[in-house]
């Protein structure tokens, strides 16, 4: 029953003009939410939170490092879900959305790696170490890049998307490895300190900016995803009737 309604919903969104309108309407709201959350988050991060007694001011890196890390992983999960739907039901809009997740996810992975590395210099005395967490995160970046490259390498965009979706699903195994690497292997990287349920070993005063930034980053992911998907759809369907209609009509925004 639920499955069916989900499927129907996807099919309705699967119609290119509807999807196009959906993206057009939703994305500005997401951008606005992103802006607001970021401002609040940055305010907390710089004015409210005291420096850590151990890590002093470098702890402020956490407010971008951790949201970016989480989003890099969450973005991958979203992409994998979309890829699954695309492969099973062959809905074109989900194919496109899955593919468009990759560059955004790659961007967040890059942020996580860069900030982590910058943070590591004062904390661990090294920019880089081949430990399990760091290595698996680097692998995530390359998987993202591989997906983008694979998609771009096909002339037939739909075929490219479907092949790349297979890679997406295979690459999914890397996500739990990233997450649990600190528990499975002794690593330089610190273990789990933040819990949503139960006692978090992080001081409560550090939580608000982290939460705000996390939400901000999620909204941004959604907004960028919709923008990119809309572009890609337009570019793929450039010879289709509905695009021409849009162009002839009130002029496309």
């Amino acid at each position: 029953m639920i499955w069916k309604s989900i499927k129907v919903g996807f099919h309705r969104l699967g119609s290119p003009p509807t999807f196009y309108r959906f993206c057009l309407l939703l994305s500005p709201w997401l951008w606005a939410g992103f802006a607001i959350c970021t401002i609040i988050g940055l305010y907390y991060a710089f004015y409210v939170v005291p420096p850590d007694y151990q890590q002093s001011d470098t702890v402020r890196i956490l407010y971008i490092h951790v949201p970016a890390a989480w989003q890099a992983m969450a973005g991958y999960v979203v992409m994998a879900i979309l890829a699954m739907i695309a492969l099973v039901w062959r809905i074109r809009t989900t194919e496109i959305m899955a593919m468009m997740c990759a560059p955004i996810g790659a961007a967040f992975t890059l942020i996580c790696l860069a900030t982590g590395s910058i943070w590591g210099r004062p904390m661990w005395g090294t920019w880089w170490e081949w430990d399990a967490r760091l290595t698996s995160m680097l692998v995530l970046l390359f998987i993202y890049l591989g997906i983008m490259g694979l998609y771009a390498a096909f002339e037939d965009r739909r075929k490219g998307a479907r092949v790349a979706c297979i890679l997406v699903l295979v690459g999914l195994v890397n996500i739990p490895i990233i997450h649990f690497s600190v528990e499975w292997w002794t690593t330089l990287h610190q273990g789990k300190t933040i819990r949503i349920f139960g006692e978090s070993s992080m001081h409560y005063s550090m939580m608000p900016p982290l939460i705000w930034m996390t939400i901000a980053v999620k909204l941004m992911f959604g907004a960028a995803l919709l923008d990119r998907s809309r572009n890609e759809l337009l570019s793929q369907d450039r010879r289709k009737g509905w695009v021409a209609k849009k162009l002839l009509g009130k002029g496309v925004k």
Binding site: D156, R157, R158, Q236, R239, K240, G241, A244, K245
Partner: protein
């Protein structure tokens, strides 16, 4: 007459466009089908669809017997000898009553068993491909231009092979351009027509 293969409203898409118009086709035991159409109309694509190599974008396809597909590409390994190629096919698809040597003799390649496949002439390669059909019993034959590069004797050979296969309860669909099969029981034809492009409104 039993249907060995049944396709209804099958289509195939490349780059989001249909290659040919939705097609219905039934291959009955003992009956031959000739697929006609100009270059690039989609005959090969259709045969590959029927063989199960491609997945239809829409429509349904039912096969109730094993399938052999002989395409433009030789599907032979040039480094292996003719006999090794046939032995491999027999083991890969399951051996039948005809062994490799007999199959070679049947298609007029007797004595070439130890020759590496790449040292055959064009027509001999096609004949080796035909021999591959014989070493393993598969009721559905899908042949893409089986007459290409064959001399007159070769064309007659194909006709006799087809008649034998049909008499054994097999079925065959083949595409061809210049030479039409000469079969005692005749054949049905299917004209492939390229899909009209979606109009820009």
């Amino acid at each position: 007459m039993s249907a060995l293969l049944q396709a209804s409203r099958v289509t195939f898409q490349r780059q989001g466009e249909d290659v040919f118009e939705a097609t219905d086709l039934t291959l009955n035991a003992g009956q031959a089908t000739v697929i006609l159409g100009p270059n690039g109309s989609g005959k090969t694509t259709l045969l590959r669809l029927l063989a199960g190599i491609l997945k239809p974008a829409s429509g349904t396809l039912e096969r109730s017997a094993r399938t052999a597909f002989l395409g433009h590409l030789p599907a032979l390994k040039g480094e292996l000898t003719c006999r090794e190629n046939l032995d491999f096919l027999a083991r890969f698809h399951g051996a039948g009553t005809l062994n490799s040597s007999k199959a070679l003799a049947r298609v007029g390649l007797a004595g070439l068993g130890l020759r590496p496949a790449r040292a055959l002439s064009a027509g001999q390669k096609r004949r080796l491909g035909l021999a591959g059909l014989l070493v393993s019993p598969r009721p559905i034959w899908l042949l893409d231009e089986p007459y290409a590069s064959l001399d007159d004797a070769g064309c007659r050979l194909v006709d006799t092979l087809l008649e034998g296969h049909l008499a054994d309860g097999g079925t065959v669909a083949l595409s061809t351009h210049q030479h039409k099969p000469q079969l005692a029981q005749g054949f049905q034809t299917l004209q492939v027509s390229p899909a009209r492009r979606a109009e820009v409104a």
